[in-house]
């Protein structure tokens, strides 16, 4: 499967928890400006895989990565993980705004926590832009200085998306971002993802097959730590090459 412009390219990527090999020899190119869904049954290594892409994986005690991961042309395993994470945003399974910060401060967390000082005007602009991109501006523009934890779950998740977008990442990793949300909030986030891919590449882990079908352009299917299928979502869904993909899609196991 040839990808013209890859945002990520992994070569023989393996990830371990102690002696347990959670990701096995994955070689894949993830296209730029598209939404790539990472699917597979529970415990197949989806989350571990995307946590390798911003080197969050190695923070787990005993965890280790081997192989290569290229972000554009640079091998991120050779870079300072802190610099990698500034270029690769992440949204987590459960909304996690910082409870001690206001909505405004949460959006600027990527600057504030690093000790970067912004002029008031600049800060206002970044906050508005990020919240607009995350489709949250209209709902919170009058309560910017209230705590982020007062928002509903779906709003909190969009706040976390705004927080990730505020630092202008090249790619956004999303780890089951809607699994803790109700259907309406889920729909809002899905629409947002489709909107966002114009400006940022997205890799999203999802358990939800219809969701992957609705929003993703490419699908990677993992099984027991191996990447067993990768291709345009329409193709993988309608004409899977691997019998295990087909069994999963038809609900034979989950």
């Amino acid at each position: 499967m040839k990808i013209q412009h890859a945002i990520f390219r992994t070569e023989d990527l393996c990830a371990y928890y102690g002696d347990f090999m959670a990701i096995k020899h994955v070689t894949v190119s993830i296209p730029e400006h598209e939404v790539t869904a990472v699917m597979g049954p529970s415990g197949c290594g989806k989350t571990t895989f995307i946590r390798c892409l911003n080197r969050l994986h190695e923070l787990t005690p005993g965890a280790k990565i081997t192989g290569r991961v290229f972000l554009r042309e640079e091998d991120i395993l050779q870079l300072d993980p802190i610099l990698v994470r500034r270029r690769v945003g992440m949204v987590f399974q459960r909304p996690n705004p910082f409870p001690t910060m206001t909505i405004y401060e949460n959006v600027l967390a990527g600057f504030k926590l690093l000790g970067i000082r912004l002029k008031k005007k600049e800060a206002d602009r970044i906050v508005e832009e990020a919240l607009r991109k995350a489709a949250l501006w209209d709902e919170v523009k009058d309560v910017l200085h209230r705590r982020g934890t007062f928002l509903s779950g779906g709003q909190q998740q969009r706040l976390c998306i705004a927080r990730a977008l505020a630092v202008n990442p090249e790619v956004l990793l999303m780890d089951e971002p809607t699994s803790a949300l109700d259907p309406k909030a889920t729909l809002q986030i899905e629409n947002l993802i489709v909107e966002l891919k114009r400006t940022v590449s997205i890799v999203i882990v999802t358990h939800n097959m219809p969701q992957a079908g609705r929003i993703s352009d490419y699908t990677a299917f993992f099984y027991l730590g191996e990447l067993i299928e990768f291709g345009p979502t329409a193709e993988v869904f309608t004409n899977p090459k691997d019998p295990r993909t087909e069994e999963y899609l038809t609900g034979k196991f989950s």
Binding site: N54, R86, G89, F92, R94, N96, F98, L114
Partner: protein, 284 residues
């Protein structure tokens, strides 16, 4: 008919047992109220403006106050906080954020627990040997060091426990933004646990404010107003100890008054820390 009688008996039994349990549950609170009652009864008459604003009268003369002891307690405890709290918080951060499963952390944890169990008189003697002896005179500072030693284990362990309660997803959210770990700890983890850490500090202060033994041969006591931490200084527990063991009836009365002042201070600290603790619980 029979079932009805049974039911009435069962209700009766329930009521009896419930009242017994309630009485038993109230029993542990009785000593506290007896103490408060006694202190108010004996001490309230001593409380006057003079008592708070004046220095002790010469031995045997009636009147005078405990102004120097109140000021002294604030200085000695304040210094103890300045010495003990930064160390304890750093150790707590280390235990929670850096050394969760390593040997060194286990050694620190056990040491803190053992230190907590060291009798306060022993800590007083150690502070005497470390500071009073080399300097050649008693000083408030040596008392503060002794009290800091008593407060360190409490604050270390509460800091560790409170920081461990900070959800890991907040650390990850910060790290995923490219924030270094040490900044994440200082700017996300510590602020999130701040109320809890403060509660721990207040409880520790409440515990050391009334300690007498560590001060006996360190801060020693002083009949005059002392503000220099290198001098001997008076403190409320010392006043209580010295006056209560004196032969003068007026000093016994003042010892009761000083006890009342001390317990009111400690109780208020406890109440403030309770309110803070409730606020944490409310946020979750």
């Amino acid at each position: 008919m029979n079932t009805y009688a049974n039911e009435a008996r069962r209700r009766m039994k329930n009521k009896v047992i419930l009242s017994i349990i309630t009485v038993l549950a109230l029993l542990p609170a009785v000593p506290l109220f007896l103490i408060l009652f006694q202190l108010f009864k004996e001490g309230l008459s001593s409380l006057s403006l003079d008592f708070f604003l004046h220095l002790p009268a010469p031995p045997g003369e009636p009147g005078g106050g405990i102004a120097n002891a109140i000021v002294g307690t604030f200085i000695i405890v304040g210094l103890a906080v300045l010495i003990g709290v930064p160390l304890s918080i750093m150790a707590g951060i280390y235990l929670s954020e850096y050394g969760r499963d390593c040997k060194l952390a286990e050694v620190i944890r056990v040491s803190a627990d053992v230190l907590q169990g060291v009798p306060s008189i022993v800590i007083g003697i150690v502070a005497y040997a470390w500071i009073v002896k080399p300097l050649g005179h008693f000083s408030a500072l040596s008392g503060s060091v002794a009290l800091a030693l008593m407060m360190i284990p409490v604050v270390v362990r509460t800091t560790e426990e409170v920081l461990r309660l900070v959800p890991n997803i907040l650390r990850e959210a910060s790290l995923a933004l490219g924030v270094p770990y040490w900044r994440t700890v200082l700017k996300v983890v510590l602020p999130t646990g701040l109320v809890g850490v403060t509660t721990g500090i207040l409880i520790a202060i409440a515990r050391i404010a009334g300690e007498t033994a560590p001060l006996l041969f360190t801060a020693f006591g002083n009949q005059f107003m002392a503000l220099n931490p290198m001098e001997p200084m008076n403190a409320l527990p010392l006043v209580i100890f010295n006056y209560a063991t004196s032969p003068y009836a007026d000093w016994w009365r003042q010892a009761w008054g000083a006890s009342l002042v001390l317990i009111i201070m400690v109780l208020s600290l406890n109440i403030v820390s309770r309110i803070l603790a409730r606020r944490i619980a409310g946020e979750k």
